[in-house]
């Protein structure tokens, strides 16, 4: 990494070639279905990594360090989306959020297709809070703190998001 910091063209090209795909894959999965956003954030991740590279101590693999920066960027995006949103407080509850059935008749590929279709069809705040809570495994308290909302407000948003997800899941 010293060569990258020293402005070595080839080392920098190797750095991009080696790490852009795994970081991009992570960003795509967390910013679904916004592919263009994943592209923008991938560049931000590399620029932030370059600026902070002198602080990289090497006690964890570089890929994990980069994924940490990517996670930070994703959460910055989530925070912006939820902080600026009204959290649909005036919307009527769509009914109890039931457990989504993992239909065993569907193979993995069909399940993945269904998941993409359902998530893509959800309002952005619902999709964001579901991705943040379950795919990023953040607690409601953490999400509340990062968005300056109350934990109760996040729980209500999650309940609505789950209910909408369930409704769409059953109709797909």
């Amino acid at each position: 990494m010293a060569a990258v910091l020293d402005g070595d063209r080839k080392a920098t090209a190797d750095f991009v070639a080696l790490y852009s795909d795994p970081i991009y894959r992570y960003l795509r999965s967390r910013l679904f279905p916004r592919a263009e956003l994943a592209e923008d954030l991938l560049q931000d991740v590399f620029l932030a990594a370059w600026s902070a590279l002198s602080h990289f101590r090497g006690d964890a693999p570089l890929k994990l360090w980069l994924l940490g920066i990517a996670r930070h960027k994703v959460e910055e995006h989530y925070r912006g989306r939820l902080r600026d949103s009204e959290l649909y407080d005036n919307e009527e509850e769509p009914g109890p959020a039931l457990e989504p059935d993992l239909d065993e008749r569907l193979d993995q590929e069909r399940l993945e297709q269904k998941m993409r279709a359902v998530l893509a069809a959800l309002p952005e705040a619902y999709r964001t809070v579901l991705l943040w809570r379950y795919w990023e495994a953040r607690s409601t308290r953490e999400i509340a703190e990062m968005t300056n909302k109350t934990e109760k407000a996040i729980e209500r948003l999650l309940a609505r998001a789950r209910a909408h997800f369930k409704l769409r899941w059953n109709h797909e």
Partner: protein
């Protein structure tokens, strides 16, 4: 409530919401990132000289090699030459861009 929470956690663990073909970033994107990093590095100070890069065991593209062996002042050999190269323009704009130069970073990204 907790049952729902656990069910969704299981669902998230079982299924990632991206398609397998979405795994790779495009060569155009890699090219743009490389260009941005080199701009950032060049704005922070002179780049590593072409002679040092070659001494490290890296290959130089045809144009870099010409600059390396030319009688230009040393400072020129630390400039961001890629910024002036048409390979950058092609690499940033096209997938499978026709870039036949060996050891050109933008050609490297095209190969995936």
């Amino acid at each position: 409530m907790q049952r729902n929470d656990a069910a969704f956690a299981r669902l998230a663990k079982a299924i990632e919401p991206i398609e397998p073909e979405d795994c790779a970033s495009s060569s155009r994107l890699k090219s743009r990132i490389y260009s941005a990093l080199m701009r950032q590095a060049a704005s922070a100070g002179p780049l590593r000289s072409l002679a040092e890069t070659k001494a490290e065991g890296h290959g130089l593209c045809l144009w870099e090699e010409l600059v390396r062996i030319s009688p230009l002042p040393a400072g020129y050999k630390r400039l961001n030459l890629c910024h002036l190269c048409h390979a950058r323009v092609l690499g940033e704009a096209m997938e499978n861009a026709p870039l036949p130069w060996k050891d050109c970073p933008y050609a490297k990204f095209q190969k995936g």
